[in-house]
Amino acid sequence: MLGTGLRDVAAPFLPRPFSIGAREDDGRLGFLVRVFGAGTRRLSAVKPGDELLVLGPLGRPFTLLDEQSAVCLAGGVGLAPFLFVGAEARRAGREVRIVYGERSGDRVFDPKLIRRITGIDPDIRTEDGSLGRAGLVIDDLDLGDRPQLLACGPDRMLRACADLALRHGLPLQVSVEEHMGCGVGTCQGCVVLSAGGEWIKSCTEGPVFDAGELAWRT
C-alpha cells in the first residue's frame, strides 16, 4: 500500500494497493504506477525526496512451482508483479516467459526496461496490432511444455485465462483486484467470492489465488 499520509486529506485519501515491481539490492523498492484516477494522479505527482507511506509487503504472492516452467500473462499495468517475479526467477536461475498485452502500442511499458529488470524479452501483444503481435495475451500461446500460468490484469482477461487453463489442464494463479481499506485483514473491505461461496479477503488470503479457489461468476 502506498499513500501520502494523514495530513494530505485530498480526494485521494485512502492508500491504494500496488504490486512491488522491483527490489534493488540496496533495499530500494520500485513501483509501476499507471495514472488512472485521483489516487494514481496524486502518487504520480510525488517528487524525489517526498515521503510516502508504504505498508507492506502484504498478502500472498505468486509462487513458482518446482520442476515446471512458467508463463506470466500480463494485462496492462498487470505487468507490475511480473517484473518482480521475473527478476526473482532470474536470481533463482529459473526460466520464465512474460506475455504482455495492451490496448495499443503507445501504452506499452518500455520492453528494454522490462529486459533490464527481469532479463526477459517480453512477448508483446496489442489489441490494435500497433506494436508486437496483434491480439490478446491468450492467443497463440505455446503451451507445449505444459507450463504453470500466472495471470494479472483486468477481470475479463482473468476469466479468459481461467478458461484457457481449464481447457489445457494447466495450473493457474491469478492476482485479483478489489477495493481495499486497511490492506491487513481488519476491515473486510476487499472480499472476493470463493469457490465454496464465501467472501474471502483478498488482502490477506490473496491477492494471488489458485484459480480453483475462486468462484468464476459469469
Binding site: G5, L6, V9, G39, L53, G181, C187, Q188, W199
Partner: protein, 308 residues
Amino acid sequence: MADLSQHLLGADFQSPVLLASGTCGYGEEYAGLIPLDQIGGLVTKAVSVEPRPGNPPHRVAETPGGMINAIGLQNVGLERFRAEKLPWLRKNLRSARVLINVVGHSAEDYGSVVSGLDEDDGFLGYEINVSCPNVKDGTFFGTDPSALSSLVAGLRSRTERPLVVKLTPNVPDIGLYARICEDAGADGLSAINTFPGMLVDVEARRPVIGNVSGGVSGPAIFPMGVYLTWRAAEAVSIPVIGIGGIRSGNDALQYILAGASLVQVGTALFVDPSAPVQVLEEIEEYMERHGIERLADLVGALTIPDRD
C-alpha cells in the same frame, strides 16, 4: 509529565485514544503494527449471535475526504468469537481496555450476545451498536425512542459490566436519544457511527457499492462528529466517547473540549496505522505546552459565548 489517563466506566484507561469498531478487526491483525497494549484500548468488530456473511463487493470506496463502507457486519459470530478471538485479546491486551461491539436483528439477539459473553474474561464491557447503516434493520433501534429504551433496559438487566451505547448521527436531536440511553441504564455513549452515503459509477450506471449504500466515515464527517458529541455530552452526565474523522491530536482535542472523555480513531488507521500513537503524542505535547496536568481537566472545557 502530563497525565493522560482517564477513569471512567469503572476502569482506568491509560490513554484516551481507542481504536474504533470495525477498523481494527479483533486486534490481532494490527498487533505487529500498533503497540496495542500502550493505547487506551480497542472496540472489536461487531459480534452477532450467528456468523454473518456480509455484503457483496465493492464494500469500500473513497469519497471526498473520507470513505464509504458497506461491510454488512461480516463477523464470525458469538461462538467463534469466544473460541478464537477473545482468547487472543485476553492474552495480549493487559493494560488496554477492550469493548465488544454488539449487534443484532432483535432485542433478543443483542441479549444473547451479552449473556453469552458475560462470564468470560478479557474485556471490560460492551459497545451496543444501534446505528449501523449497512444492514437492513441496523438503525432501527437507534432511531426509535421506545425500542431503544427497552433494548438498553433489557441489556442492563443482563449484565453488570459497562454498557456503552453507540448513537446514530441520523436524528434531528441526538440529545433526546442520549438521555433515553442514560435513563435506561447505560454507563456511557459513543458518538458517532457513520452517515449513510452512496456513490454512482456513471460509466456503468450502477452504484459503486455492492450494497447500494454504505456508511461514510473519515475526516469528511469530523465537524459533524464534534457537534454531535457536544450535543450528547451536554444532554447527559454519563461519559461520552467521541468518534468521527479523528486523525491528529488537534482533532482529538476538539472532541475532548466539546465533552468527550475518550476518543476513537477509525478510518485514519487505514491511512496510517501509526495514527493513534501520533494522536496521543500530539495531545501530550499540547498539554505540556499549556501546562495542563490532567487530561480530565480538558473534558468539556470549552467556553461557549453568550447567545440570546
